[in-house]
């Protein structure tokens, strides 16, 4: 057969020569990325995905606006009466409630959004690209750490939206911009740490739906049985103890204090300890599962 004429028809030999020329000689090979540059690169990948699929920002934009506006105006009138201690409902009560509630919904929404980290990861890991990542000579946790770092952008966006909406509905933190920023940073640190829980869930569960189901089951009691929506004093005694021990309550209290301009190292340290414990438990478990994932 006339091999040559056929080959030139689809450019085979010419292409082969071009490929031969771009092969990298072994001595020009760089040494692979380390933990930090590897994680940052995976974070960059997460940002590129946001750029290409802006729809995935729906949950971090519309959802926080909805939550903040709904809770403020529906519950604000009733709750404000209790929070302010005056017993007066209606308009004035709403503005009282806003001061109490905005730091709470800020935490609630970001915790809800960390869940999507797990859902996204579950979908991502099942694709061929993760096989390739895992076959690279890089620091393996970078693949997960980078994804979580990229999600910080989503959390940051959601947080900014809530605080802006909060400001519009009358939230005026005594702690000023500095207090708000300090609270924001603390919450981002916690969200990053909490994401490891969903990372583990996403590696254990067979589908996105399952990840969602499990995460919801954990998040709902955790955020509602807390001081996010109502002061713990209003609860029955037996519940009050449980709610006050809930890490979410501890976090919300610390952030309320920061935004209120009262700086209590004790509550901040307890938040950081909770966060460190979560990472210390769930990050190694996640990595174990990740390394053994078939």
């Amino acid at each position: 057969m006339s091999q040559t004429s056929i080959r030139s028809e689809h450019g085979g030999s010419a292409e082969a020569a071009r490929i031969q020329r771009v092969l990298l000689p072994a001595d020009q090979r760089p040494s692979p990325s380390g933990p930090i540059s590897g994680s940052v690169t995976f974070g960059w990948r997460a940002l590129l995905k946001i750029k290409h699929i802006p729809m995935q920002l729906f949950d971090v934009t519309i959802f926080p606006i909805m939550m903040t506006v709904m809770f403020t105006f529906i519950f604000g009138g009733a709750m404000g009466a209790i929070v302010s201690g005056t017993g007066q409902t209606g308009g004035p009560a709403v503005s009282e409630y806003v001061q109490f509630f905005i730091p709470g919904i800020f935490v609630q929404t970001l915790i809800m959004i960390t869940m999507y980290t797990g859902v996204t990861l579950n979908k991502d890991i099942s694709k061929g690209i993760f096989d390739r990542f895992r076959s690279l000579p890089i620091w393996r946790p970078a693949q997960l750490v980078g994804a979580l770092l990229g999600d910080q952008v989503r959390y940051g966006l959601a947080g900014t939206i809530i605080l802006t909406v909060g400001f519009l509905v009358g939230f005026r933190p005594v702690g000023g911009l500095l207090g708000v920023l300090a609270g924001f940073v603390l919450l981002l640190v916690c969200s990053f740490c909490l994401s490891w829980v969903w990372t583990m869930v996403s590696l254990l569960m067979p589908s996105e739906e399952a990840v969602m189901g499990v995460s919801m089951t954990i998040i709902f009691p955790l955020t509602f049985a807390s001081n996010i929506f109502v002061p713990t004093e209003t609860m029955p005694g037996w519940l009050e103890g449980i709610v006050e021990a809930n890490p979410v309550s501890v976090l919300v209290s610390a952030i309320r204090e920061l935004m209120d301009g009262t700086f209590d190292p004790g509550s901040i340290v307890s938040v950081l300890i909770y966060s460190a414990v979560v990472v210390a438990v769930f990050a190694p478990v996640s990595m174990y599962l990740y390394n053994r994932k078939s």
Binding site: M1, I6, R7, E9, H10, G11, G12, S13, E15, A16, R18, I19, Q20, R21, V22, L23, L24, P25, A26, R29, P30, S31, P32, S33, S37, G38, T41, W44, R45, L48, K49, H52, I53, K127, G128, I129, D131, R132, F133, R134, S135, L136, P137, I138, A142, N291, R292, S294
Partner: protein, 329 residues
């Protein structure tokens, strides 16, 4: 460390998923350089075997060295020397072709600038320059496969695992992939290729391991495998299909081996043992008035090898199309 003469040495690899034993004691010895084919039907355990060697999956039992490095104790050293191109393109579909290559380049240690330059060179060489800024999800199957291979060549691997590189792509792209593979081998890379297609293994591989039900059932050069089955095969086409059954009986008796009744109602294939005389057999048909329209005699195809080894036919690529015809298309 003394360099091992082998690209892969594996002994007794076992991997089960629950009660399903995917790989059941695989031994492989693959020399450096050249193309080694792992041939088997769907679900035979090829992918699982490759994933173990590429350190993606931890074997339940056995031992293996890739390029002289232990996959259990030195997985990172293995990963530094290999590249993997999966059955389903291992690319990020949401990113563009260029972004995919920059991502991999950065992870492999290039600066952002160098990674971009490397990406550009590779995209150009693989004829993808125009699609550089298009999302991979908009690529055709052949383009994806080429980008996938380009992604494995950002740094030149000593060994490349290609898991069914031509499954599901058109014949033209398949020929391009074959050309690329041959080019890589010429550059000194060892290729381990899995395929369900006998033609592909026959065309490309220097040596072949046939895997079925998680075990290696035969190993050797394509020629050796064919020889294992017998001296060759006699193919007979009769003028009248009504006479086929009688003709089959005659050939079976005369040649002392199994006669395969082909799908084509007038065709028969007889695998021949050593020194079987075909002329007397054909004469016998003539004498009985069984008219032979045509006959041919040749080395057995790998298809027949597979049938002989496993007792069931292998899957074939484009059953009715001649490979040469595809190449021109």
């Amino acid at each position: 460390m003394a360099e091992s003469p082998y690209a892969v040495e594996a002994r007794g690899l076992v991997k089960s998923f629950g009660s399903n034993v995917a790989v059941d004691g695989v031994d492989l010895t693959i020399p450096r350089g050249g193309i080694y084919g792992v041939l088997g039907p769907n679900g035979a355990g090829k992918t699982t075997a490759i994933r173990m060697l590429a350190t993606l999956l931890r074997p339940d039992a056995g031992e293996a060295w890739v390029l002289g490095r232990d996959i259990f104790t030195e997985p990172k050293a293995v990963r530094e020397r290999i590249a993997l191109t999966g059955q389903f393109a291992s690319l990020d579909e949401d990113l563009t072709g260029m972004e995919n290559l920059i991502l991999l380049g950065r992870l492999l240690g290039f600066t952002k600038q160098d990674a971009r330059r490397r990406g550009k060179d590779l995209l150009t060489a693989f004829g993808l320059a125009e699609a550089a800024d298009r999302q991979v999800k908009k690529y055709s199957g052949g383009m994806r496969r080429r980008l996938d291979i380009a992604g494995s060549l950002i740094v030149t691997p000593e060994m490349m695992f290609l898991d069914e590189p031509t499954t599901g792509i058109d014949p033209r792209s398949r020929n391009q992939v074959w050309d690329i593979i041959r080019t890589l081998v010429a550059g000194g890379t060892t290729i381990l290729l899995t395929t369900q297609y006998l033609e592909e293994a026959d065309q490309l591989a220097d040596r072949i391991a046939v895997i079925d039900h998680g075990r290696v059932i035969a190993e050797g050069t394509p020629g050796q495998l064919k020889a294992q089955v017998g001296a060759g095969a006699l193919k007979v086409r009769l003028a009248d299909q009504a006479q086929r059954e009688r003709a089959a009986e005659v050939l079976e008796r005369r040649l002392g081996s199994v006669v395969i009744r082909e799908k084509d109602a007038v065709a028969l294939t007889v695998r021949l043992g050593e020194g079987a005389g075909t002329t007397p057999a054909l004469n016998a048909l003539e004498e009985l008035g069984l008219e032979v329209e045509s006959f041919s005699y040749g080395q057995p195809s790998l298809d027949e090898v597979f049938l002989a080894l496993t007792g069931k036919p292998a899957e074939t690529q484009n059953d009715d199309a001649e490979p040469d015809a595809e190449r021109v298309a």
